[in-house]
């Protein structure tokens, strides 16, 4: 907002989501603090509050609001947060095909996908979910969850490892989405 006339200003051109949401540029965030910040920001700029303002301000309010939505969603989800952090650190997102990288891992993903696709497995979705989580933790061979491992890589500034692990997370995220869709009756 302009300090002088209190009119809403356009959002800055290249916003840093972490700064916007009042978080340190780390993988670890305080989800509740993030949510509070999201709500208070939206209270200030949401288009519903600008119904009577000049069109330009209404437009800015829409821009602010969707930017805040985007920042919130990006930081809330660990996978998107990790990928965004990589981007901020100048690490290129993975584009090439995984050919040699960890064929055992890909095979496991393939097997789980196949299990999910079998119609008779509708009843054992819970089991499959446990299988996914269990297999993955076993693969990592340590107790902490996947997110903790990503956090570790970011803290030790091992961005290539973080990138590789986030790529794996992506496969699991897809599986989790499929599981969710199966659980919802169509």
């Amino acid at each position: 907002f302009c300090p002088g006339c209190r009119a809403l200003q356009p959002p800055e051109p290249r916003p840093d989501f972490f700064r916007l949401m009042g978080c340190d540029r780390l993988f670890r965030i305080d989800a509740q603090q993030l949510q509070r910040r999201f709500r208070s920001l939206q209270r200030a700029v949401h288009p519903d509050r600008f119904g009577r303002r000049p069109p330009k301000e209404q437009y800015y309010s829409e821009q602010h609001s969707s930017l805040i939505n985007k920042a919130y969603q990006t930081l809330l989800n660990p996978l998107s947060r990790g990928l965004y952090l990589l981007e901020l650190n100048g690490v290129e997102p993975a584009k090439e095909t995984d050919c040699d990288a960890d064929s055992v891992f890909l095979m496991e993903i393939m097997e789980i996908n196949e299990k999910l696709a079998e119609p008779k497995n509708e009843d054992i979705l819970e089991e499959i979910e446990t299988l996914i989580k269990g297999r993955f933790i076993l693969k990592m061979k340590i107790q902490p969850s996947l997110c903790k491992l990503v956090m570790f890589y970011f803290i030790s500034d091992d961005l290539q490892e973080a990138k590789a692990l986030l790529a794996k997370m992506k496969y699991f995220a897809n599986l989790e989405d499929k599981l969710k869709n199966k659980k919802i009756p169509s």
């Binding site: 090439e96 095909t97 995984d98 040699d100 890909l106 993903i109 393939m110 992506k170 496969y171 897809n174």
Partner: protein
Amino acid sequence: QAVAVGDAVPWQVVDHYENPRNVGSLDRNAKNVGTGLVGAPACGDVMKLQVEVDENGRIIDARFKTFGCGSAIASSSLATEWVKGKTVDEALQIKNTDIAKELCLPPVKLHCSMLAEDAIKAALADYKLKQDPTNNELEKKA
């Protein structure tokens, strides 16, 4: 399962999605079967492509299983169609650009055709390795 909304999906992609050719598996333990397993980290798609090669080095059967978007499924489906009847060396010539052109893939889905090309190469590399495990060049790659 919804096909991507937004821009019109090319009918070629829809066709492969609704009538996929060669879905399934071959016996990965058979000596004349090559298995390629590839993943796309950006979108989390996984693709398995298998070829069965006869004693003359000609591909007589191919199967695929792909978990991902419609374009990825179509690309691998088309790939299995194309490799059948080709020799191993001929199949290695298949380019992702040909696949993309055949399916009229939009730019944003070009990586799917690349994934299919990589899957073909991986399957053929696996087959070659099985024929000649003492081949040093392939061992370095694997």
